[in-house]
Structure formats: structure tokens, C-alpha cells
């Protein structure tokens, strides 16, 4: 059977090379330059061969035998991938030696640079599609998993090696990277913190709401509707809407606000308690109004708590994780995490199912996990004690909310908005996951004598886990994207590069922001999938998209 995907790969690369320029020589950072097509480099047959190489998958697609075809496609694709990166680099260096000879138009030449163009993108894409088609053939031919993994990753890994060794330094993106390297690191970490803090707080709130919705059928539509509405608000609008109230909140003093929060929380608890107590005895309409009242009274203190909490956590994390002073604690935390993971893997898969080695490893794992959590707390406490957190404050009387990190512009609106956006996937997936546990299974658990908490922890949670994790993944990846927009309100993150690039019409800067963001989303997705796979029982694993 013809391998249509391989044919597609070849067509993408071939057409890309034929119609689009592979390189763009720019006279300076800002001006758009002159494009060079692959076939223009006459006198050097290598480039012609590259073009022909792109057409090889089209021919291979017709070959019948899966295993040999698979290996040939993987080989061709990998070669194509690497050469598409390497050869134009060489051509670029030649061009840069004498830019005036090649440039048209009278643009001012200063720091000329080579920008990879559409042809290269399509070439790389076509090459990777070809590799993918090859691996599929191998899978169908029954080749072992580890060989398949090698086939998939060999080209990107070699490319990575070349990248790190500096072979691609002629490309403008890398020039930009070297110029802005430190800033990139800082913004990347900021972006990471956006995602993790919002996801973390959103997880607690979202899973909690999802749990409540799955237990109480009357509350469910209200909760789902509310988080759904939030999702429909465009992110930029939500950021804008939060500016004013947060600015006002920032001006307030801490102690009075704390008092207000306590009173509002008490009111909410009373209303909610009354609702639960009266639950079955009220007529439907009154109950709905009561529920609404509970929602409104709870929303105020909850919003206040979440808003201040995320902003303060960000401040702490910023100082704790990024400032050089806490390097020791941060590396300790990382070490403990790795050790905990290793012991867990050992206990689960390497050691025999029972015995002292097993239980010893399990206890060690628990200890390491606990130590990690404690170290993170220690880090936060250390950072909190740092003067930079609270600024120069004389006493708690003069402490304002702004000192805790909440203000109209900056991270606060971004984090609050991101937390809100993470709610829908989390609530919805938690609700669906818990609801879809087969009632017969829970009934037999009950009939056998499990207590409600045993049923929840041993039956409902493990069975709902894959669906809930899918929600976390969804939310995480979405937050990476929305976080890029947060730059417009001064929150920072990778979006800064994108906006600067737009302002300066420097595509390299845009890419400097966009590519790490895309990479972060992909890595986050893959990591969460991996974790999900580790913790899901083989009895319920399904092939997921």
C-alpha cells in the first residue's frame, strides 16, 4: 500500500524548496531583505541534490515492503532534516562575506544577517513528516519500541547537538539569542511561573468545584455555566477589566482588608451552611435563589483570597527561585525531587512485589517527597523574610495590598486571569471524570463494606484520574498561550519578546519569544502525559489523543 504520508512529506519539502526562498539576506536588523531560492545557488551541485533529496520520499512512497521502506524513509527524512539546516548555513556564510554583491535596493547595511525563510520551514516540516511516515511503517512492521524511538529522535538530537556546538550561529535567530540571552532566561522563568502558580491555585479551586458539582446535581449546572462564561471573555479584555479594581485594591491597607475578608468569609460560610442544612426541605425556586446568594457571597472573599494569594506567591517565587541568593535551596529541591522519582520507579517496577526492599524503598520515597515539600516551604519562608518582598515597610499598620504584590499593572491581573481561565477545563473534566465512574462499581464497593472515603480514594479518584489529568494538560497548554498575551499589561514573560519584535519589525525577536513558548507548551504536554501514564493503572489505560 502506498505510503501517502511519505508522499505528502516529499511534496511539502519539494514544493517549499521550489517556490519559496530558503534564505533571506537582510541588510540590517529591521529592513526586510532579499530572498534566495535553493535553486539559485548554481555552480554548487549540493543545493540541487538537496532539492532532489526532497523528492525521494515521493518515489519511496510507492515501495511495497513496510520494514525496508520504513528505514529508507527514516534515513531520507533525517538526512533531509539535517541538510536543510546545514547547507543553507554554509550558503549564508558565503553571502555574509560580501553582502553588497548580493543585495538589491539601496538599504543601509549594518550588521547584515541571514534569516531562515519559508523554504527552510517547509523543508524541515516535510522532512519530519517523512520521518514520521517511516516510523509508522516500522511500527506496522512490528519493529521494537526502542528502535522506533531511535528512528524518531535521531535527527532532532543531532540537530540539537549541532545547534549547541554553534554550527547554526550564522542564522539571525541565534544572533538575536546571543544578544538577548539573559533576558530570555529571565522571561522564560517568569512565563513558567505564570503557568505553574495559576495552574496550581486553579487546580485546587477547580478540582474542588468539580468535586462539589459531581456530588450535588443541583449545583452542577450553575458551576459549569459560571466557569464557561469566564472562558468566553477574550483574554485581553479580561486583563483590562481587572486593571481598575486591582489598582484600587492595591491602595488599601492590609489590616482593614484582612478584617473585611474575615467578615465576608464568615458570611459566605453561614450562607453556604444554611443552604446545605436546608437543602432538601426548600421549594425549588427558593433553593435556587439561596444557591445564587451563596455563590455571590462566596465569590467576594474567594476572589480576594485568590487574587492576593497568586500575586504574593509570584513575588515569593520570583525571589525564591530566580534570585541567586537561594541557589542552594533550589538545587536541594531539585535533587530531592529526582531522588523521590528514582525511588518511586525502583519501588514500582524494578524491585519484586513484596519484602523489606520494597517497603523500605516505599518509605524512603515518602520521606523524600515530604522533604521536597518542606524544602519548598522553607524556600518560600526564606524568600518572604527577604526585604524585597515587602519593600520598605515600617510596620504592619502601613502595609498596603500593593506591597503584597497586587496592583493594576503587572503580574496580578495576569495571574488572576490565568487562574480563571484554567478553571473551565479543570472543573469540567473533574466533573465528567467523577460522574462517569460506573455506578455498578461504586455499588459493589459499597456492598463490600468500603467507607465513603475509601470509595472515593480507591475507586472514584483512580478511575477519574485520566480524565482529570487531561483537564490539567488542557489548562496548562492553554495557559502557556494566554500567558504570552500578558505582556501588554506589563506582566512580563515570553510575550515581551513577541511584542518588542512587532514594535521593532524584527522577526527574529518575535521568533525568540514564540519558539520557546511553543517548545514549553509541547514539553509541558509531553511531561504531563508521561506522568499520567505512570500513575494510571494498566487496567484502564486507553490510547489517548
Amino acid at each position: 500500500m502506498m505510503n501517502r504520508i511519505a508522499m505528502l512529506g516529499g511534496l511539502i519539502a519539494g514544493l517549499g524548496f521550489f517556490f519559496l526562498p530558503i534564505l533571506n539576506l537582510k541588510p540590517n536588523r529591521l529592513a526586510s531583505g532579499t530572498g534566495f531560492n535553493l535553486l539559485e545557488f548554481q555552480g554548487d551541485d549540493r543545493y540541487l541534490l538537496l532539492f532532489l533529496l526532497a523528492l525521494v520520499p515521493i518515489v519511496l512512497a510507492f515501495r511495497e515492503e513496510p520494514e525496508s521502506r520504513g528505514w529508507l524513509l527514516v534515513g531520507t527524512g533525517s538526512l533531509l532534516f539535517l541538510l536543510t539546516l546545514i547547507l543553507p548555513a554554509g550558503a549564508g556564510r558565503v553571502l555574509l562575506q560580501d553582502p553588497e554583491a548580493y543585495l538589491t535596493g539601496g538599504a543601509f547595511i549594518r550588521n547584515p544577517r541571514i534569516l531562515p525563510s519559508g523554504g527552510m520551514v517547509l523543508g524541515l516540516l516535510g522532512a519530519y513528516v517523512t520521518i514520521f511516515a517511516g516510523v509508522r511503517d516500522l511500527a506496522r512492521a512490528g519493529v521494537q519500541m526502542w528502535l522506533q524511538a531511535i528512528a524518531t529522535w535521531v535527527a532532532p538530537l543531532i540537530a540539537l547537538g549541532l545547534l549547541l556546538s554553534g554550527s547554526f550561529d550564522v542564522y539571525s535567530i541565534l544572533v538575536e539569542f546571543y544578544a538577548n540571552g539573559d533576558a530570555l532566561e529571565q522571561k522564560f522563568v517568569e512565563h513558567l511561573m505564570f503557568v505553574f502558580i495559576s495552574l496550581g491555585v486553579g487546580f485546587i479551586v477547580g478540582v474542588g468545584l468539580g468535586l462539589w458539582a459531581s456530588r450535588d446535581e443541583r449545583v452542577a449546572p450553575v458551576i459549569l455555566y459560571a466557569v464557561g462564561i469566564i472562558q468566553t471573555i477574550p483574554s485581553l479584555a479580561l486583563f483590562g477589566v481587572l486593571l481598575v479594581p486591582l489598582a484600587r485594591l492595591g491602595d488599601r491597607l492590609f489590616l482593614p482588608t484582612l478584617g473585611f475578608f474575615a467578615i465576608a468569609a464568615l458570611l459566605a460560610v453561614l450562607t453556604a451552611g444554611l443552604y446545605v442544612w436546608l437543602a432538601d426541605r426548600e421549594p425549588a425556586r427558593l433553593r435556587f435563589a439561596h444557591l445564587l446568594a451563596t455563590a455571590v457571597t462566596a465569590a467576594v472573599p474567594l476572589a480576594l483570597l485568590v487574587g492576593v494569594l497568586v500575586s504574593f506567591l509570584f513575588r515569593l517565587a520570583n525571589v525564591g527561585f530566580t534570585s541567586g541568593a537561594y541557589g542552594a535551596t533550589t538545587s536541594t529541591i531539585l535533587g530531592l525531587l529526582i531522588a523521590a522519582l528514582v525511588t518511586w520507579v525502583l519501588a514500582r517496577w524494578v524491585l519484586p512485589a513484596e519484602g523489606r526492599a520494597q517497603s523500605g524503598m516505599r518509605w524512603l520515597n515518602r520521606g523524600l517527597s515530604l522533604a521536597t515539600v518542606v524544602s519548598v516551604l522553607v524556600l518560600f519562608v526564606q524568600a518572604a523574610g527577604n526585604n524585597r518582598i515587602l519593600g520598605s515597610v515600617d510596620s504592619i499598620q502601613t502595609l498596603t495590598i500593593r506591597d503584597l504584590g497586587v496592583s493594576g499593572i503587572g503580574v496580578a491581573p495576569a495571574l488572576i486571569a490565568l487562574t480563571l481561565y484554567s478553571l473551565l477545563p479543570l472543573v469540567r473534566n473533574t466533573y465528567a471524570g467523577l460522574n462517569n465512574v460506573d455506578a455498578a462499581i461504586i455499588d459493589s464497593g459499597r456492598g463490600m463494606g468500603m467507607t465513603p472515603s475509601q470509595r472515593f480514594l480507591q475507586i472514584e479518584l483512580p478511575l477519574a484520574f485520566p480524565v482529570i489529568m487531561a483537564g490539567v494538560r488542557n489548562a496548562g497548554v492553554a495557559l502557556v498561550g494566554i500567558g504570552t498575551v500578558a505582556t501588554v499589561i506589563g506582566a512580563g514573560g515570553l510575550g515581551d519578546f513577541v511584542i518588542q519584535g512587532i514594535v521593532n519589525t524584527s522577526i527574529d525577536q518575535i521568533l525568540l519569544g514564540a519558539i520557546p513558548a511553543i517548545g514549553l507548551a509541547l514539553v509541558l504536554d509531553a511531561t504531563l502525559r508521561g506522568l499520567e501514564g505512570l500513575f494510571t493503572s494498566p487496567g484502564i489505560k486507553q490510547v489517548q489523543s
Partner: protein
Amino acid sequence: MIEFQNVVKRFPDGFTAVKGLNLKVHDGEICVFIGPSGCGKTTSMRMVNRLLSITEGKILVEGRDNRDFPAEELRRKIGYAIQQIGLFPHFTVTDNIAVVPRLLGWEESRIRRRVDELLELVGLDPDINRDKYPRQLSGGQQQRVGVARALGADPPIMLMDEPFGAIDPITREVLQEEFLQIQKEISKTIIFVTHDIDEAIKMGDRIAILRDGTLEQYDTPDNILAHPKDRFVRDFVGSDRSLKRLGLVRVHELMDTELVPSVRIRDGVEKAKQVIEQYKVRSAFVVDDDGELRGWVDLDGIRHSPTSLVDAMMEADYHEIGVRKNNTAREALSAMVARGFRITPVVDKDGKLLGSITLQALQDLAEQGWGDEEANGS
């Protein structure tokens, strides 16, 4: 022992599902609850382990009110198997069976031994099956694991709610037979809910027929079939109840071994005629020198071939016209109806004639209590 004392179940919307049930299930017996949909059979069963609360009356389990215990403690002492099986898909077979023992805090090695023991009991090879997940098992295998799980902590009592209902008929019959064998070994006190009267007759030591929340009749299967209390029970057990009764009797309980009309081939036609006249039957069985059944002979055949028994007899395969000692009387009747005989030979596995069973004997059995409307049973 399980005892229902004036048990009433009323739901919040006012519907009364069980209206004063009084019933005693004896130790080591399978008591089948059966009745039309909505009769309260499942509701009654679920009140024994308090999955449903009792509105009025009480249920005594081993002599004590079942409300004296905390619900979870009670349930861990009662095996529970349901129609949808309800195996935990994320647990292995071992972990599923080990649920109640683990809740009770048994030591791991004791649990592993118990799991293997139970897998063998329900007919599954432990080495192959103990680490499988439910989705790797067929429906019949899953239900066997379900039964093993219900027996996990060796509870004295079991509640089974249509456990074989979701299985195909062929596997169901196999599982029923095997379960009866297991019950012979372990003698649990079991409440078994079903809507299938044939299953009830097969499985039950006693049957409780329920209608609209009240107990219509509670007696052994044979008594209910022989003496249905009223028109409802009569209709419920089916108008072929006499045949059903015959299904409860084995051939060896009714067969004749002495007065069997048979003749050896070598004895010839004259002897055959003698035998037929002597026993006042229409035909006699013909056996060979080893006693193996080869066919039969009647007066018509003798008239056609007066000199040779071999020519006069009708040859027949003992597999086709005979029944075994362990067949039911109903199967013997089926053989008679198929051939138009009033007598069926009883043979062993090699075809040796052991005796015979007559239509008259079956009728005599059926006549005990035909049309009898007297109430019978406690």
C-alpha cells in the same frame, strides 16, 4: 441464618416496596427470591446488608439485629455479587478478590494464599489469571472472579443479585452447575435473586415467590411446583410445571431394574414373543451377549419375520433411544415423546442395558398433587 421480621420498606415518595415480609433463611441453604418486576425481591435483599434502610421491622443476621453493627462492618461479613459484576477495572484479579480481606487487615501472605485458593475453586488457573485485569477476561471469567471476590473473606452469608443474568445462556448453565458444586463444598447461607423460574428451580433449596412486596409462597421447588398456592403462583411457575417437576427427578430414582422386558439376540424370536406377552408390553429390548442394547422388537416385526430375530428386530443406537441414570425424568419423557414409546431403556456409558423407565411411572409421579390448591409451606 437470616430472618426477616415484619420488614417494611417505604420510599420517601410514598411507594411501599416491601409490605411486611416474614421469612427465615436456614443455614447452608440457597434461598431464591423471585417474582415479577417491582415485587421487592432486590429491595428485600439489599436491606439485609443495609444498602437500603429498613423502614419498619427488623432483619436478624446470625441471631442479631443487623442494625446493631456499623454498616461497613456488617457488609464486610456478607458476600455481595451483582449482575453487572462490578469488578474494579483498575485492579488486577488478585487485588479485586483481596478487597475485603484487605479492609479487614489480613496479612499479605494470607491474602495471596486465599486468592489462589479461590481462583482454583471457581475454576480459573491462578498462575494465568491472578495478574490479569478485568478487561482481559471474558464475561464468564469476570463473573467467576466476581463470585471469588464475594467469597474473599470467607463470609458465612452471601447476597447474589442476578449474578448470572448478564452471561450468555450456555456459559450461564455451566456457571450454575459449578456454583452448585462449590456450594456443596462450602455451604454458605445465600439469598439469590432472579427473575428466571428455571434458574430458581435449579439453584434454590427453597424459593420465596414475591408479588407487590408480599410473600406469596415460600417452599421447596418441588412443593411449589406440586402445590402452587393460588392462581398467581400457578401462572408464575408456568403451565408446564409438571414437566418442570420432572426436571427435578433423576432417572435412577424412578427406574425399574427387575421387570425389564428384554431378550438376547441369540434367544430367538420365540423367546421375544414370550417376553412381550409376559410383560404385557408392546415391544421388548434386544441386547447382545455383552448386554449391550442393539434395538427393539415388537409383534408386527415378529409377524413379518417369524423365523429370525435379527430380521424381526428394529436396530437402533443406544445413544439415540436410551437415557443415562443421571439424566432427568424430563429428558426420559422427551425421549419417549420423540419415539412414540411408553418406555425408555436406561443404559450406561457403554450401552449396557441397566433398566427401564416407563411413562406410567412418570405419570404416577406427576399425579402427586396435580390441580391441588392447598396452601403448603411456611
